[in-house]
């Protein structure tokens, strides 16, 4: 791990102070604001559960499903949440392999965000299938009629990709947490000591444990890296393997991966900007981190800009009337507002991050992150619905008509995600204690020049 230079202007300088400051985020008494936030998230989760129950009782007609648009807000929201789940593993695994020191302060929060985002995403295909109680038919399991799923379908690839991603990202989060939970265990008392004692799995930081742990963490990062790139590629093939105009594109996999990382970092910014203030960890998560996150946003946003331009270019250059019509209708058809929301929020707003003044102004960064979240939801909405609305047969064209069941489940998904995240940040170390300590050089008896200090 690269060591950042010793910086006397940073208030957290010693290992003891890191332990103290991070554990204080857990042991400090929750404020009234925390309970209000938790209550709001619980309410939205109840809204989600209530709406899903109604949907199970009355069927998908309640969600406005009608030919030709049989994939609608639920699939849009599924892709949106899976995308959010990409920034965490990018920051925790890929930047770990690249030895980027700035990831250390933010990776725990982004990793937790990843797990909860994928947990949210995984609900949507199940909600979407209609008969939710037999969702396990998606899996290959021995059954009385010896029927197996179709392994040539990208939808089954997606089942494998999402379940593997959820398992591996949860594992990665938990493995990273163990030494930190042990640190918490050693500095709390009462029921907390018992709880963290169990969760720390007997960790003591002995050399025999670090020896295996440090290697294993490296291999987990190496395995998670291709995984994060593959998951959204597989999601993109749900669309690209079909022959629907607007979906059947070879650029879909890299286009989706860049979009996923872009949306994930947008959500990281939305969460971290207020959170670091609430938890009083401004001295650990600094402007330096936000500047780097912004540069990553700018990079992925620029790839998206290019991909959007290429989509239109390919449609024109293909000479295919169907492809050209689809893209013409995206910009100037009945859902033009969604098409332009996507282009403005993603391609253009991200370009503001070329300016350092904007990158280091947290208020403007927060506002931009909201635009990113909105823009990326609209991107998926446009891709999913506009292509289905205007297929090969103009006679069968139609328009999407979302209902209250779409909107309440979409809103409720933010509650479900937020509930987990809110509980997590107040009960677990939101900043990685042991990795921050790795960044701070340990005191030495002798200076590098040989003298004592």
């Amino acid at each position: 791990m690269a060591v950042i230079p010793y910086d006397p202007s940073r208030p957290t300088q010693t290992h003891g102070e890191v332990t103290r400051d991070v554990i204080a985020t857990i042991t400090s008494k929750p404020t009234k604001g925390y309970y209000i936030l938790l209550g709001t998230m619980a309410f939205l989760t109840a809204l989600l559960l209530g709406s899903v129950t109604m949907l199970m009782k009355d069927g998908l007609g309640l969600a406005g499903y009608a030919p030709p648009i049989m994939w609608s807000v639920y699939i849009t929201t599924f892709v949106f949440w899976v995308g959010i789940g990409h920034a965490g593993t990018l920051i925790s695994a890929i930047l770990f392999l690249f030895r980027s020191p700035w990831r250390t302060a933010v990776y725990r929060a982004t990793e937790a965000m990843t797990v909860f985002a994928v947990m949210t995403a995984a609900l949507f295909p199940i909600i979407h299938i209609g008969r939710q109680w037999i969702f396990y038919w998606l899996l290959p399991y021995p059954n009385a009629r010896y029927l197996w799923p179709n392994f040539k379908s990208p939808l089954l690839w997606d089942v494998f990709a999402i379940s593997t991603y959820l398992t591996v990202s949860s594992t990665f989060l938990m493995v990273g947490l163990v030494p930190d939970i042990a640190a918490v265990r050693d500095h709390v008392s009462g029921w907390r000591k018992k709880l963290y004692g169990m969760l720390s799995l007997g960790w003591t930081g002995a050399d025999s444990q670090w020896r295996h742990y440090s290697r294993a963490y490296l291999y987990l990062a190496a395995l998670a890296t291709p995984l994060v790139l593959s998951v959204h590629s597989v999601v993109s093939w749900d669309f690209a393997v079909s022959i629907v105009p607007g979906w059947h594109g070879t650029i879909f996999a890299p286009y989706f991966v860049a979009g996923a990382i872009y949306s994930g970092i947008g959500m990281v910014l939305t969460l971290m900007i207020p959170l670091r203030k609430v938890l009083k960890v401004e001295h650990m998560i600094t402007d330096y981190h936000f500047d780097n996150l912004s540069k990553l946003t700018l990079f992925t946003g620029s790839i998206l800009f290019y991909a959007y331009a290429m989509e239109y270019f390919v449609a024109w250059y293909s000479g295919s009337t169907f492809e050209q019509t689809t893209f013409w209708l995206r910009a100037f058809g009945p859902a033009w507002w969604a098409g332009w929301s996507m282009i403005i929020c993603n391609a253009f707003v991200s370009q503001l991050l070329w300016f350092k003044k904007i990158r280091t102004n947290l208020t403007s960064l927060f506002v931009i992150s909201i635009f990113i979240n909105l823009g990326m939801w609209f991107e998926r909405y446009v891709i999913v619905t506009s292509s289905l609305a205007n297929d090969y047969v103009p006679y069968a064209w139609g328009q999407i008509n979302p209902t209250w069941a779409d909107w309440t489940i979409l809103l409720g998904s933010f509650g479900w995600f937020g509930l987990w995240f809110t509980l997590f940040y107040k009960n677990f170390p939101i900043v990685a204690i042991q990795e921050i300590k790795e960044m701070i050089p340990m005191p030495r008896r002798k200076s590098s020049h040989g003298g004592a200090h």
Binding site: M1, T14, H15, G16, T19, P140, Y146, W148, P149, N150, F151, K152, S153, P154, L156, W157, F160, A161, T164, T167, V168, T171, V175, P179, A183, R185, D186, H187, L201, T204, G205, A206, D207, S208, Q209, W210, R211, H212, Y213, S214, R215, A216, Y219, L220, L223, A224, P226, L227, S230, V234, I433, Q434, E435, K437, E438, M442, P443, R444, R445, K446
Partner: protein, 169 residues
């Protein structure tokens, strides 16, 4: 702290002092040391000088097993109920690459985590003393030794800057 393994437990506040102490302890024939630290540290790792962890064999073996399982699963299940889909052959290998890839990652990752638990448990730390400061800002070195050796060990550890030494009988 009560312990069943007799020896000396030392606290260090300085990394170089701890690393030097480990090197000298090893040079004077002390084996089976336990070194506690709040984070992974290369200087300590070098001083301890243990071979590279065997976790890598687990990751490799189970990763390959996952890959083979993914392809086998898809090939077997497609052949068990042969249905022509989209004009592709029954055993359409390119379609099965995703399944093979996902199971490679899944098996490899789970085996890696299992390896940390199993390999760490193979060296029992039972009966060895521990102190909460070791997860904070102290490095701990526990030297198993008999009562006669303890005084010399204590002297060695204090000589390298140990800030606290305790003897566990």
């Amino acid at each position: 702290m009560a312990t069943s393994v007799p020896g000396v437990l030392a606290h260090f506040a300085h990394i170089d002092g701890a690393a030097d102490a480990i090197r000298e302890l090893k040079a004077t024939g002390h084996k089976d040391l336990t070194v506690y630290c709040a984070m992974h540290n290369h200087e300590l790792e070098e001083a301890i000088g243990d071979p590279i962890s065997a976790v890598r064999y687990w990751t490799l073996f189970f990763g390959l097993l996952g890959c083979a399982s993914g392809f086998s699963l898809a090939i077997w299940m497609s052949s068990d109920w042969p249905l022509l889909v989209g004009g592709k052959p029954i055993t359409a290998i390119p379609s099965f690459v995703v399944i093979g890839f996902e199971l490679t990652i899944l098996f490899g990752s789970l085996a890696t985590v299992a390896a940390i638990i199993i390999l760490s448990a193979m060296k029992s730390l039972k009966g060895r003393p521990y102190h909460p400061k070791f997860s904070d800002d102290h490095i701990g070195i526990f030297v198993p030794c008999s009562g006669e050796q303890a005084a010399a060990v204590e002297q060695l550890l204090v000589g390298h800057g140990s800030v606290e030494v305790s003897r566990d009988a």
